[in-house]
Amino acid sequence: MPPFLYIFLGALAIVSALGVIVQRNPIHSLLALIATLMTVAVLFIGEDAVVVGFLQIIVYAGAIMVLFLFVIWLLNLQVETGPTGHLALKLFGSLTAALLATELFFILAPPHLQVKFTHEPVGYGSLASLAGKLFTDYLVAFEVTSVLLLAAVVGSVALARRLPGTDDPRAARKTAS
């Protein structure tokens, strides 16, 4: 990936990420987040991690963001209006952010830490190499992830399922008709 493209995409990702927090309309924020994720996906693809890039598009931009949107609509989040905090708080926040940014700069500035470009082996980022990693080095992590997701599903169902004894709208409709 040519450096100028990398910088351009990186800047695009950062700008759209800023858009997520700067915009007041939650839908606009969400769309900006989709843009960020897409740009990151393109960055992945540009760095030869092709499968990961496309999976990112399918899973995040395609599915998870839509669920986010549903949540926003379900909770009926509106455009934020009015003051969002004290001026002092904002000042303190931006000052801290600036300090952290400076710190990060100093952390990353030393030349021995700067990114070294290496040539990845042939087939890097392909489905086969990804699968190879997942089923050898990261086998335990891979399997545990599935258990984690199962546990999360069980948990969310436990919290979200209709409590016994509460009104079931469908049952009510049946008895009415």
């Binding site: 839908i27 606009h28 769309l31 989709i34 092709v50 499968v51 496309f54 999976l55 598009i57 399918i58 931009a61 395609g62 599915a63 963001m65 839509v66 669920l67 949107l69 549903f70 609509w73 392909s126 489905l127 086969a128």
Partner: protein, 396 residues
């Protein structure tokens, strides 16, 4: 593609030592434009006419037959009319997003053509993740649809958008899972690689490779119809309830974008299933002439795809619309679990017969022919019983 670019550079058409990337970009751009303007757009247009004619015949009507021979030019007339209409942006709409949405839908419709395997050489880019790319870019439709539904600031639009999004997100799961059996058998995601893994004869198609792929193909087809908002899954634009769903507020060429993408997607659905399960462009090697072979392959591929497109028209003309709860039940309680079974079943199958089981191909193909025969026999039986007059002439 690579050789084409090399030849172009060597021919000096771009001057001496042109930057390679630039030439490649221009070539890709021009070719994409050709594919899009010469294939995708006319297809989407013509298919609207074909669909109306097919419905008309199924419903014992005549259908559009005035503009041009047999009404063939109807799509052009409609197109010109719709483009000439005023492009209205409602006052209360979120104008920026309202205007952006049709472009996103068009984008999701355009991008898949890049990996469309028309023949052994006719393919813009044979990505090694082709089918994954296809799934990823078609998934973008949902963003455009949601954006359109929300930005219109209209209840019908919003409900249409939400329904569409729910439907697309849900059905993406069985659709994605139904691709895996084929990937398991070929070990590649490339469109051409998958097609090369099959033969021209039906018993070598993945459709008949084993019982699981047969089920997977059917699930993929039904899920794709749902993702494309086709009847019987056309709840997002159910005319009787939602006017035109997420596209209610659109007019002029922006509306045309939505409908064009919708009809054009039929081809993409057909192409995906043809590639994965129906042997793609595979044709017996009858001549050494590369051009002739490619033409034959192109015809094979198109015939298969168009058959699937016809099938979806047939379904649309005959089946009633499902309810939203039936839609979700079908997806989550039946398609998804069955898809998992397909995946595991195929994995076991591949483990037992790594090179495939040819006998199974013959058996399943024979079974499919038997099914078809039974179907035709029933049709004839009922036609006789109802003493219906049948006109086989397609033109009126």
């Amino acid at each position: 593609m690579q050789t084409l670019i090399q030849n172009l550079i060597a021919s000096g058409a771009f001057g001496k030592n042109p930057p390679r990337d630039l030439v490649a970009a221009i070539v890709v751009f021009v070719m994409s434009l050709v594919v899009f303007l010469a294939i995708a757009l006319p297809f989407a247009g013509i298919v609207t006419w074909v669909e109306r004619r097919v419905w008309a015949r199924i419903q014992s009507r005549v259908g559009p037959n005035r503009v041009g021979p047999q009404g063939f030019l109807q799509w052009l007339a409609d197109g010109v009319k719709i483009v000439c209409k005023e492009d209205i942006v409602p006052d209360e709409a979120d104008a920026r997003l309202f205007k952006l949405a049709p472009f996103l839908v068009m984008l999701a419709f355009t991008l898949p053509w890049a990996v469309m395997p028309f023949s052994s050489s006719l393919i813009l880019a044979d990505l090694n993740v082709g089918i994954l790319y296809m799934t990823a870019v078609t998934a973008l439709t949902v963003v455009g649809v949601l954006m359109a539904g929300w930005a219109s600031n209209n209840k019908w639009s919003l409900i249409g958008g939400v329904r569409s999004a729910a439907q697309i997100v849900s059905y993406e799961i069985p659709a994605g899972l139904s691709i895996f059996p084929v990937v398991l058998m070929t070990g590649t995601l490339s469109m051409q690689g998958i097609i090369r893994g099959q033969g021209w004869a039906p018993q070598h198609w993945f459709l008949f490779a084993n019982p699981f792929t047969f089920v997977a193909a059917n699930i993929l087809y039904m899920s794709s119809l749902a993702e494309a908002n086709r009847t019987p899954f056309d709840l997002p634009e159910a005319e009787s309830e939602l006017v035109a769903g997420f596209a209610t507020e659109y007019s002029g060429w922006r509306y045309a974008c939505f409908s064009m993408a919708e009809w054009g997607n039929l081809f993409i659905i057909g192409a995906i299933i043809t590639t994965l399960f129906l042997g793609g462009w595979q044709f017996p090697h009858v001549t050494n002439n590369v051009v002739a072979m490619n033409v034959l392959e192109l015809i094979t591929f198109s015939v298969k795809v168009l058959f699937l497109v016809f099938l979806s028209m047939w379904i649309r003309a005959t089946l009633p619309r499902v309810r939203i709860d039936q839609l979700m039940t079908a997806c989550w309680k039946y398609f998804v679990p069955i898809s998992f079974v397909n995946m595991i079943g195929t994995a076991v199958w591949v483990a037992i017969w790594p090179d495939g089981n040819v006998a199974m191909g013959y058996i399943m193909f024979a079974g499919a022919i038997a099914l078809g025969a039974i179907f035709i026999q029933r049709v004839i039986y009922y036609l006789r019983r109802s003493q219906m007059e049948v006109y086989l002439n397609p033109t009126i």
